[in-house]
């Protein structure tokens, strides 16, 4: 059910906040065993929050998210509630503070059902690298959810929450949203405070939303976005009111179709589905403009160099000294960190730390990190050139539909290349939204992405909403 409808029911007392929360908790209890989308479920806390929300509702002072049950990716710090990043090294880590987004959600009276499974430290596109076991796609439990916000997307698809906060560093909200047949919004870099988001790649990370619709993502973004004095990279330009353009005419708008995003490696059924969506927009009066992003072929390499370099540095603090897992039987500091990190991190995380440190070593820095930064600038320029003429850009979200668990997670290069459609958005810091636009021969959802100008979320949300209203989305059935 749409958040607006839930809100109305709550306001009109057709349903109580506690009752609503309980209905989600029951569903989680009954069905999440097959999905494994939650790492931690918080029934007591959720009940308390629902009760508090009910008071606000009763007092007639309730925002649209008041009493709405949400789930939160497990790399967003929640005071007093375990925040693991799906890693052994933070298996029992309980933050002493709330992320800024959590403060905002708490203040408005949203209910937190629990913390969502993910790829370890958000590194991956399958949600199979979690220390707590992989996430299963609600449409077909033998298939992956995508990642890294696989738990967030799956919980929305399965109806285990009204909406979920994920994080997106190279596609980690949009790609699982596509694989799980829901809507996923990655806001402009700086639109949402990162304070309290356990960093993977600081210059690329952004908290985003998985939900049933573009409108729902907008309603959540309205609450969590805005300049935060605790995050120097957050921006005044994030002004809220992201539903403002919904329902306005798309006539005369220009949609850029960058040809490189439809080339080799993109499956035929994905290409066809996205081009059909383009036709929808054409029929709505939009002009389709063929555009080009020549640097796309370097994007994945640049992304993995920059993100791994930042990750290597960000994850250095996990040394067993201050919090989290500490290895036993070490008799020096050097040995303690070696053992703690060797035992505490999974293989994918270690791979990225090694890659990142290699790229930063003196002697290699110019060849790797600096060249990656140059490509980054190039991609920013190429986006700017497209936006000179276009209002939004349309691309596939992922080259294929969700594959079977065990099929390709063990081939890192293949996994990395599958990020081709999403990483440039993070590299350029732009907003993008993914929504289902078809189903493959395997019955799995296909996602398309609308990319906007910086801080032009309202525009892509409106585009996305218009399409969603014409598209028959499949529901997960248990």
């Amino acid at each position: 059910m749409a958040i607006k409808e839930l809100h109305e029911k709550l306001v009109k007392r057709e349903i109580g906040a506690k009752e609503l929360t309980k209905s989600y908790l029951d569903k989680i209890e009954k069905h999440d065993g097959d999905i494994n989308s939650y790492i931690t479920v918080c029934p007591e806390l959720a009940a308390e929050q629902a009760e508090a929300a009910q008071k606000k509702l009763d007092a007639g002072d309730a925002g649209v998210l008041c009493g709405i049950p949400l789930s939160i990716k497990d790399n967003i710090c929640t005071k007093g509630v375990k925040t693991t990043c799906a890693s052994k090294i933070l298996e029992d880590f309980v933050p002493v503070y709330d992320a800024t987004v959590m403060e905002k959600l708490n203040e408005t009276g949203a209910v937190m059902l629990g913390k969502m499974n993910m790829d370890e430290f958000a590194m991956g596109g399958s949600s199979q690298t979690s220390y707590f076991g992989g996430v299963h796609n609600p449409f077909d439990t033998e298939r992956v959810t995508g990642g890294s916000s696989g738990g967030a997307a799956a919980s929305v698809a399965a109806g285990f929450c009204a909406a979920s906060l994920g994080t997106d560093t190279g596609g980690s909200v949009r790609q699982p949203a596509a694989f799980c047949g829901v809507t996923g919004l990655k806001p402009t870099y700086g639109a949402v405070s990162r304070y309290g988001l356990i960093a993977f790649a600081s210059g690329l990370d952004q908290i985003g939303v998985c939900a049933d619709s573009a409108e729902d993502t907008a309603l959540v973004l309205d609450v969590i976005s805005g300049k935060d004095p605790s995050d120097g990279t957050s921006s005044e330009k994030a002004k809220g009111n992201y539903t403002a353009l919904i329902g306005t005419s798309l006539k005369g708008k220009k949609i850029g179709i960058p040809k490189e995003f439809f080339g080799e490696g993109i499956s035929d059924e994905v290409r066809t589905a996205v081009m059909q969506a383009a036709e929808f927009y054409k029929n709505a009066g939009c002009e389709l403009v063929e555009t080009s992003m020549p640097s796309l072929k370097y994007a994945v390499s640049a992304y993995y160099l920059i993100s791994s370099a930042e990750a290597a540095s960000n994850l250095s603090r996990f040394d067993g000294i201050k919090y989290g897992f500490r290895a036993e039987d070490a008799d020096s500091y050097g040995e303690l960190i070696k053992k703690t990190r060797s035992e505490g991190f999974g293989d994918e995380v270690k791979r990225r730390i090694l890659l990142g440190n290699y790229a930063l070593c003196s002697g290699y820095y110019d060849a790797y990190y600096n060249n990656a930064s140059r490509i980054r600038n190039k991609i920013i320029e190429e986006y700017a050139a497209i936006f000179d003429t276009c209002d939004v850009i349309l691309t596939p979200t992922a080259p294929t539909t969700a594959y079977k668990i065990g099929q390709q997670e063990n081939d890192p290069v293949k996994m990395y290349l599958a990020d081709i459609c999403t990483v440039t958005v993070n590299i350029a810091g732009l907003p993008a939204i993914s929504t289902p636009c078809g189903y493959g021969a395997d019955g799995m959802p296909i996602g398309m992405s609308l990319v906007g100008k910086a801080f032009d979320e309202a525009q892509i949300i409106a585009f996305c909403d218009a399409y969603e209203k014409s598209f028959a989305r499949k529901e997960v059935k248990f």
């Binding site: 933070l90 933050p95 503070y97 960093a199 600081s202 605790s230 930042e310 540095s313 603090r317 000294i321």
Partner: protein
């Protein structure tokens, strides 16, 4: 062979901001361990640094104080290394784009170039308990704002180095950037030193001596290092590039780690902090807000106030002392008199009791009142010294003390004449002796006059009357 040392310095100075550089914790010294830590400065996952604008301003002030260019654009980088006192496992510093560049300071008739001044955060401290066999981390110092001042290798003598460090310490203190308390570690010096044969211009291999915390230690460390390196070269050996630690008790240096063991810090731009932009207007505003530097103050004291150079230097050397002097002469422009009282009497009190100027019980205004009393002839110059000592001890006002101690000079000559007459009448023998040429007796008679007249008596007047009456 005779050698010439080539020396460059890296000076770390803790900045006097109220809070730490990337969080709101108080920036103070001492206190209980881990008393001033928060999720940010203890590197909790998910926290982000936010730049303290006060630290940026102070770093820019340091730039002006040390005659550098203050840059419009500067940016932070991460310096990555593992150590338990560094909770994030990287130090935020300015590597590629420092806030100040290209300075120079003249000491001992030599121009010393300053390559750069950059902002960085301090690390914590490890406390080792050898008895328990454990080490503990104290993060109070984590995130304390530092500037690092890097010079070119322009020093050739110990004296230049010491004079430079003293000058820097003084200028930073005057600019309000750093309290320059080397003994507390708020100013720490790393010395890079190599030697080359006299007449040569090709630098040798350098050693770096870390964390020297007194001007004396700097001198001893350099002298030891010159000797050590000379012995190696004289024997045909090669100096190894390495980091060394100075041991104050033994007066020697020991190797910490060689070049091969040196860290690769894997610097890269800090993605959590946007670059710092200072507009020309902002930079100009900071420049205008700079307090008078010590060299200008010295000029003022010697040229405008007519103080002897030695006195002026002594006053300038201690900023608090000099500020006190300035406040006092603003209210009572007897430059020399105030200078004399402060340099002799007040300094003696301060030194004997180990008191700091900031802990004085009286204000510059109170001192000005004292000097006014003395200038007006209400109390004698000698009495002023006594009053100052009592002010130092009790904090009471000068006039109150002068009255209590009966130091107000009486200008009633009639009373004095009566006393003198009485003394002459009662000491006929002495008067006789004086008249027959024994000048020494005058002192005794004067003493008798003072005994009756009290200390407050105007000595000069009493002396004149006695002289007249004895003729």
């Amino acid at each position: 062979m005779r050698y010439v040392p080539v020396i460059g310095l890296e000076i770390h100075a803790e900045m006097l901001t109220n809070s730490k550089v990337f969080c709101g914790c108080a920036n103070e010294f001492g206190g209980a361990q881990n008393d001033r830590v928060c999720p940010r400065c203890s590197g909790m996952p998910g926290t982000l640094p936010v730049v303290n604008q006060g630290a940026v301003t102070l770093a820019a002030k340091a730039g002006f104080a040390l005659e550098c260019t203050v840059n419009n654009y500067s940016a932070f980088d991460r310096k990555n290394y593992f150590y338990p006192d560094l909770p994030k496992a990287y130090q935020i510093t300015q590597f590629q784009y420092p806030i100040c560049t290209n300075g120079h300071i003249r000491v001992c008739d030599t121009d010393i170039r300053i390559n750069r001044i950059h902002i960085e955060e301090d690390a914590g401290k490890l406390v080792h308990d050898d008895y328990e066999g454990i080490s503990m981390a104290d993060y109070n110092r984590c995130g304390v704002p530092l500037i690092e001042i890097v010079t070119e290798p322009d020093f050739r003598t110990v004296e230049q180095v010491q004079a430079f460090v003293e000058e820097i310490a003084l200028r930073l203190k005057y600019a309000g950037v750093c309290d320059s308390r080397m003994e507390q570690g708020s100013l720490r010096v790393d010395v890079n030193i190599s030697i080359m044969p006299e007449g040569s211009s090709e630098f040798g291999t350098r050693a770096e001596i870390k964390n020297l915390n007194s001007v004396k230690a700097i001198g001893r460390a350099i002298e030891y290092e010159i000797k050590r390196q000379a012995e190696i070269l004289d024997k045909g050996g090669k100096v190894v590039q390495e980091t060394r630690r100075f041991n104050d008790n033994h007066g020697d240096t020991k190797a910490l780690r060689s070049k091969e063991e040196a860290h690769d810090y894997r610097y890269f731009p800090e993605p959590d902090i946007p670059p710092v932009y200072l507009s020309d207007e902002q930079i100009e505003q900071i420049r205008k807000s700079m307090p008078e530097p010590p060299n200008m103050r010295f000029e003022r004291y010697t040229k405008e106030y007519g103080l002897p150079a030695d006195d002026a230097r002594l006053i300038v050397l201690d900023k608090d002392f000099s500020d006190f002097y300035d406040e006092t002469v603003k209210l009572c422009p007897s430059y020399k008199q105030v200078s004399n009282l402060m340099l002799v009497e007040l300094n003696r009190c301060l030194n004997d009791s180990g008191t700091a100027v900031c802990d004085l019980k009286f204000t510059p205004a109170a001192l000005a009142e004292l000097v006014k009393l003395s200038d007006a002839g209400t109390i004698s110059k000698n009495a002023a010294k006594d009053v100052l000592r009592t002010m130092f001890e009790t904090g009471k006002a000068a006039e109150e003390i002068a009255k209590e101690q009966n130091l107000i000079m009486s200008n009633d000559t009639g009373e004095l004449e009566a006393i003198v007459d009485k003394v002459i009448a009662e000491n006929a023998d002495s008067v006789e002796s004086y008249k027959s040429g024994n000048q020494k007796v005058f002192g005794f008679l004067m003493g008798q006059v003072i005994r009756f007249a009290g200390k407050g008596a105007n000595m000069q007047v009493a002396k004149d009357i006695l002289t007249k009456k004895l003729q």
